[in-house]
Symmetry: C2
Subunit: 230 residues, 2 copies
C-alpha cells in the first residue's frame, strides 16, 4: 500500500466517524427530548439533519475518489466498500432520529398533558444508543468480536419493541383518548427498531471488512467473499 | 473500456435486474394477498425472501470482483457504485414486502372476519409497484428523465400514507375492536411508504450513475460529483 493510499484511507475513516458521531448525538438528543418532554431539543434534532445529509455526500465522494485514484484491491477495497455501506446506514439512522424528534413534537402538540412514556420504550432507546456506540467502536478498532456481540444483541431490541407494541395497543383499546399519543409512541418505537437494524448492518459490515466474510441474513451461514484480484 | 470489462458490467446489470424483478414480484404478491385475503400467497412471499437475500450477496460479490479485477474509473466506477447501492435497496424492498405479507397473515389470524381494506391503502400499493417498475426501467435504460419523474411522484405516496394513517387512527378511536386490525394495516401502510423511499433512492442513484450528479436530500441542490481519476 502506498503512503498516499494509507493516508487517504485514514482520512476517510475519520470523516465517516465524524458523521457517525453526529448521528449518534442526534439519536441521543431525540430520546432525551422524549424522556424530558423537551420540544426545543427535539426541534434541534430536526434542524440538524441537513448537516448530516451534507456530510454523507462528502464521505461518499471521498470514497469514490479513493477508488478512482488508487484503484485499491483486496482488504483496502473491502474497507472502502464497507465505508460506503456504513455511510449509507449512518445517514438513515440520522433520518430516523429526526423522525423520532418529529413524533416528540407531535406529542407536544397533541395533548394538553404529555403522555406517560412506557418505561420499556425509554429502555429501548438506551439499548439502541448503546448498540450504536459499540458498533462504531467496532468499526473504529476493526474489532470483529465486538461486532459479533452487537449482532446478537439485536434480538433483545426486537423483543422490547414487541412488548412496547402490545402495551400501546392495549392502551388504545382501553381508552380512545390514548389512540393519538399511543400511535405517535408506536412510531417512535418502530423508528428505534429500524435504527437497530441499521446498527446490525454496520456490525455485519465491520465483520466483512475485517474478515472478508459476508454474515448478513442469518440462516444462510457464513460465506467467504473472495474479492482479491485474480 | 476492455471487452472483458464491458461483458462483466453487462452481466452485473443482468444479475441486479433479475434480483430486482424478484423483489418486484414479492411486493406484487404481498399487496395482492392483502387485497384478496390470500394467506397462502402471503406465506409464499415470506418463504421467498431467503432467495432474494442470497442473490443480494451474489450481486455484491460480483460488483466487488469487477472493482478488484478491472479497477474501473469514471463512468464505469459510478455504474458499479450505483449497482452496489441499488442492490442494497432492492434487498430492503424485498424485506419490507415480506413484512407486509406477515401483517396479512396476522390479519388472517386476528379477526373472525378479514377487515375491510381502505381503498387508499390498495391505491398506495398500486402506486408503489408502479414507481418501482419505472425506477427499474430507468435503471435498465439509463433513463435520467424517467428517474427524475419517479423522484417527484414520491410526494404523492407520502400524501396517501398520511391519509391512510389518519383514517385508521379515527377507526381505532371509534371502535376499540378495530385497534388490532387497524394497527396491522398501519404497519402495512408504513412498509409501503418505506418501500417508496427505497424506490426514490434507486431513482437518485440512476441520475447519479448517468450524470454524475448527486441529487439526494432535496433542498441541498444538485452537485456534481467528480469521481474521475485526477
Amino acid at each position: 500500500m502506498t503512503v498516499h493510499l494509507e493516508r487517504d484511507l485514514q482520512q476517510l475513516k475519520r470523516s465517516l466517524l465524524e458523521t457517525s458521531t453526529l448521528a449518534e448525538q442526534a439519536i441521543r438528543k431525540a430520546t432525551a427530548a422524549l424522556a424530558h418532554q423537551d420540544l426545543e431539543l427535539a426541534r434541534s434534532v430536526v434542524d440538524g439533519d441537513a448537516e448530516i445529509d451534507r456530510r454523507e455526500i462528502e464521505v461518499e465522494e471521498e470514497a469514490l475518489q479513493i477508488l478512482a485514484i488508487h484503484q485499491p484491491v483486496a482488504i483496502d477495497l473491502r474497507f472502502i466498500a464497507a465505508c460506503l455501506k456504513i455511510n449509507n446506514d449512518v445517514e438513515r439512522i440520522a433520518d430516523l432520529a429526526a423522525k423520532v424528534a418529529k413524533r416528540v413534537l407531535d406529542l407536544g402538540g397533541q395533548v394538553a398533558e404529555f403522555p406517560e412514556i412506557p418505561r420499556e420504550l425509554l429502555e429501548l432507546g438506551d439499548l439502541v444508543i448503546n448498540l450504536l456506540r459499540r458498533s462504531l467502536d467496532a468499526f473504529s478498532r476493526g474489532d470483529v468480536e465486538l461486532a459479533a456481540r452487537v449482532r446478537l444483541d439485536d434480538d433483545q431490541i426486537d423483543g422490547l419493541h414487541r412488548d412496547v407494541f402490545f402495551m400501546l395497543r392495549e392502551q388504545m383499546k382501553r381508552d380512545p383518548e390514548l389512540v393519538e399519543p399511543a400511535s405517535s409512541l408506536l412510531s417512535v418505537s418502530s423508528s428505534l427498531e429500524r435504527i437497530a437494524d441499521h446498527v446490525t448492518n454496520i456490525a455485519e459490515d465491520v465483520i466483512y471488512m475485517v474478515g472478508g466474510a459476508i454474515v448478513r441474513h442469518p440462516g444462510h451461514g457464513v460465506r467467504g467473499a473472495d474479492t482479491t484480484a485474480s
